[in-house]
Amino acid sequence: MTQVGSRRLTADIFADSHRLSTQMALRGRVLSDVLNDTSTSYLELDIAYVSRIDHPGEILADYALSIVRKDRLSFVVIATGLEMALKQNQATYVNRRQWPVFVTVPYFEITGQIEAPANVDLRALMATGVERFIPVYNGTATLSINQSVKFSGELILINKTSIEVLCIGDKSSQ
């Protein structure tokens, strides 16, 4: 069914203590490319709506211009609009598969699926030389100290430098 919405990509950007909601005009680029672009350490936002993590639904203030240090972001949640956030998969010789993933960053635990080779090498996955942000599909970020606060999206882009723990594979029930 046809969906009606903005032509801009809506993203929820999470730093350690704040949520920034913004609508981005990416001018032909995808968000992951913008985040992984090493030629700039900053992400400029047209309008940002700021909430505190302990009251993430309340808008504290909005600002016409904002700038964010990419290395201090924890993760970015894209509720819908995957095509504006990530390039489509390109052909590869490597046999890739979807892996269930569990990640912790400050104050949040994130679950979802990542795409990685069948013989995944976690050390290589975590290397920040190529891309700073890992895409997690159909992800949910849960506030560790209040598990009723969850943020879900078609995609969560996690800053590798914020990752404390990364686990992949099917979890066993306890």
Binding site: V4, R7, T10, A79, F151
Partner: protein, 360 residues
């Protein structure tokens, strides 16, 4: 016809919502920012507001809270429509006292279904919003009195207490169209010594249908009563009745302006002919100069003659204003006038009566 106010800073989306809701049978008013939306809501008292959250300056939650602080808007349905699509955002919308929440993007059918559901729920809540409507034209003979009489009867027919005011300073035709002998008239009341609300209500005459009428004098006075008495009379009637319909003279006078200012909605009536078009251009300019908000003004095209006359789209273009209502030619109208039995009572399914009912 129910009115929906849409507040969203995305102009493309605003246009899409307008078309979608108009196709769904609603009258739509749009604005791109929160403070203007609040202002429009206070003036128009719409049946529903659809409010975006991420708007600069005043966000959607702030708009909704302000709306809920206004007792006049307490019954209005409010739907939050936002790209902040997380469960915490739904909770925030409900905490701001919105009735419901819908995330963007959305399917048009789903939005329309949600709007219809909220409107249906609203219809079950008692105490309708009070509205007063001025029926006006600077061109005589375009049917303002017939429209005012039938409109008032249509409101009365829905069970909502309604009063019809014939604010002509001379012999108006409201009483004639209803075959009514009014016991007194607004000039007599306004020139009297008793300015209490009770005295206003005592000056009303009840029609057999139950509709209350404030009549006009048969003989026009040389001097009109003070305007503050007229305003006080209208305020008293607006406080007592859910709907006050005011039939205005076809003249631009301080009396007319006072009534237009006191009304929530102005129906500017015109017929599809050149003289009427010219008068309406003048009326629109006069209303603008008098700072009557454009949102209050609704153009009503009344096909008073059998021949087609000017094309309505061309008139809309010339006026720079769309028609809210298009009333068809009805051959039974002349007989209804002659018999003193308005179509809304004698033939409620006739084309003209049905078209007026559809606008209520």
């Amino acid at each position: 016809m129910a009115t929906i106010l849409v507040i969203d800073d995305d102009l493309d989306l605003l246009q899409m919502l307008r078309l979608m809701l108009q196709r769904g049978g609603y009258k739509v008013v749009t604005t791109a920012d929160g403070p203007d939306g609040l202002n429009k809501a206070k003036i128009l008292r719409p049946d529903m507001s659809i409010v975006d959250v991420m708007m600069p300056g005043m966000n959607g939650y702030q708009v909704v809270r302000k709306m809920r602080e206004d007792p006049e808007l307490a019954r209005m349905a409010i739907l939050i429509l936002t790209a902040r699509a997380q469960p915490v955002d739904r909770e925030a919308a409900i905490a701001a006292q919105a009735d419901d929440y819908m995330p963007k993007p959305f399917a048009p059918n789903e939005l329309l279904a949600k709007v219809n559901e909220l409107m249906a729920n609203r219809a079950t809540v008692p105490a309708p919003a009070k509205k007063s409507m001025a029926i006006f034209s600077l061109r005589g003979g375009v049917g303002t009195t017939s429209i005012a009489v039938n409109l008032a009867l249509a409101y009365h027919g829905t069970g909502q207490p309604t009063c019809l005011v014939d604010l002509k300073p001379g012999p108006g035709h409201v009483a004639l169209q209803l075959r009514l002998n009014t016991k007194t008239n607004w000039i007599d009341w306004a020139n009297g010594n008793d300015a209490t609300n009770e005295s206003v209500f005592k000056a009303l005459t009840r029609h057999d249908s139950g509709l209350e009428i404030m009549g006009s004098p048969l003989v026009p006075p040389l001097n009109l009563p003070p305007l503050d008495r007229v305003t006080a009379m209208l305020t008293a009637l607006q406080g007592k009745f859910d709907h006050v319909v005011i039939d205005l003279p076809a003249q631009w006078t301080p009396l007319t302006l006072a009534a237009l200012t006191a009304s929530d909605i102005v129906w500017l009536v015109l017929a599809p002919e050149v003289g009427s078009l010219q008068s309406t251009v003048g009326a629109l300019r006069a209303l603008k100069a008098a700072k009557i908000p454009d949102e209050k003004i609704e153009l009503i095209a009344n096909q008073t003659m059998l021949k087609a006359g000017l094309a309505l789209p061309a008139m809309e273009k010339a006026l720079g204003h769309g028609f809210t209502g298009r009333l068809p030619y009805d051959e039974t109208q002349s007989a209804a006038l002659g018999q003193g039995t308005p179509l809304m009572l004698s033939q409620p399914d006739s084309p003209l009566a049905a078209a007026i009912k559809a606008l209520v």
